[in-house]
Symmetry: C2
Subunit: 209 residues, 2 copies
DNA sequence: CAGCTAAGTTCAATGACCGAACTGAAGTTG
DNA sequence: CAACTTCAGTTCGGTCATTGAACTTAGCTG
């Protein structure tokens, strides 16, 4: 048996793990929920070797959890985005994250908190809102900095962009920091369906020269 | 960075994956929920190399998800059992299993179905009973053979024992003579309590000649 | 006491992962 | 327009993890 498959197991969990059970894969998907869409942004935020990241993205596309499409504004820059199949992993991802928060807590409290957009309640391990008791999917979840967020860590542009409140699944919009916008702004999903300004919109990723 | 830690990640999901993200670990925990408690039964059912299984059980004990205690009847035979911390992984484990069932389905249907003991409803990805809409923990879940169960595979004694309906978390017991109900029974309070000794006996598996 | 079983450990071969360097295509700058 | 930069990977040698088989240790059992 290859050290990545589970040949003898005839079981839904084993089949799920053959798709998302390898190292880095669930963190790639987490970042996709956070709105990261470009190879270099995944790489910056994860710190995974480029070869491994490349291979994980390819298998996630092959299994239909992500799509890989050229960016309309910069066709040479592929955009990775969650499919419905990928978004369906949200309950599992959140449950595992919630267990980690409960049973492997970070000093100072969680780095990020996840709340129901319409009522502000926090979610439990089964994605039920603690306030209104409704099931909440990723589209209704706002991620905000938590009390334990360490501003010293993660000074890169991606981590900085992720310190702002944002809605899960919404693309991270990449804007050049340069005062003279010579480059055409890439079109993203956020541009097609912009979040109202008073609500939580897409977060901006400012590049430091 | 060692190929098992996620040093740069300051995130609850990464911390969870450092505990349960390695190969075989979640399948070991699945088997623990199924009631498997002895090294050789894990090994038979998983087919993992003994060295890896030994290492995974040790780290699960170190992290407090399992206990390792001598069997009262046979002190030289350690018994591995879930702790509360391990049982708290149920929502994550079930959500991942449910995703696999939905999005990486087995031909012929699921091998096992998980129903709420008190009403017989099936559980969704977030452990909510489809019939009574209640949150269901592992102690209230009965696992039964599903339509896709392949009797040809897994002729070993552990797999045979697991083809009978059983309550999650309860030690796996096999009675050679006593016929078991083929459908999940509605809940009675007696099911929650420890099974009387005369009904369970020592943990013996019937060996197929 | 010889044989059996359960629970591991040891070991050589293979595969996966890591980090750094490299490639090639496209856009940007002087 | 040539040099430079950015991006999205690929290549590669060294290290670590996993595999499968053989071996060890300890307590029964006939």
């Amino acid at each position: 048996m290859l050290p990545k498959s589970y040949d003898g197991q005839d079981c839904s969990l084993a089949r799920a793990l053959e798709v998302v059970g390898e190292r880095w894969t669930l963190l790639v998907l987490r970042d996709a929920f956070y709105g990261i869409r470009h190879f270099s942004d995944f790489q910056t935020h994860l710190g995974a070797p480029r070869a491994v990241l490349s291979e994980r993205l390819r298998t996630l596309v092959e299994h239909g959890l992500l799509t890989r499409r050229p960016d309309p504004g910069q066709p040479s820059r592929p955009v990775y985005a969650l499919t419905d199949k990928g978004r369906a992993l949200w309950p599992a991802l959140h449950a595992l994250r919630s267990w980690g928060e409960q049973h492997a807590p970070a000093p100072g409290g969680p780095r990020r908190v996840f709340v129901h957009d319409s009522c502000g309640g926090e979610l439990d391990a089964t994605s039920v809102c603690g306030t209104c008791r409704q099931q909440v999917g990723p589209e209704q979840v706002l991620a905000s900095p938590g009390p334990g967020l360490n501003p010293g860590l993660g000074q890169d542009a991606v981590s900085t962009a992720l310190t702002r409140p944002h809605r899960l699944g919404q693309p991270l919009t990449v804007l050049a920091a340069a005062p003279h916008p010579t480059r055409p702004r890439p079109t993203t999903q956020a541009d097609v369906r912009p979040t109202p300004p008073e609500a939580i919109g897409p977060h901006r990723l400012t590049r430091v020269p």
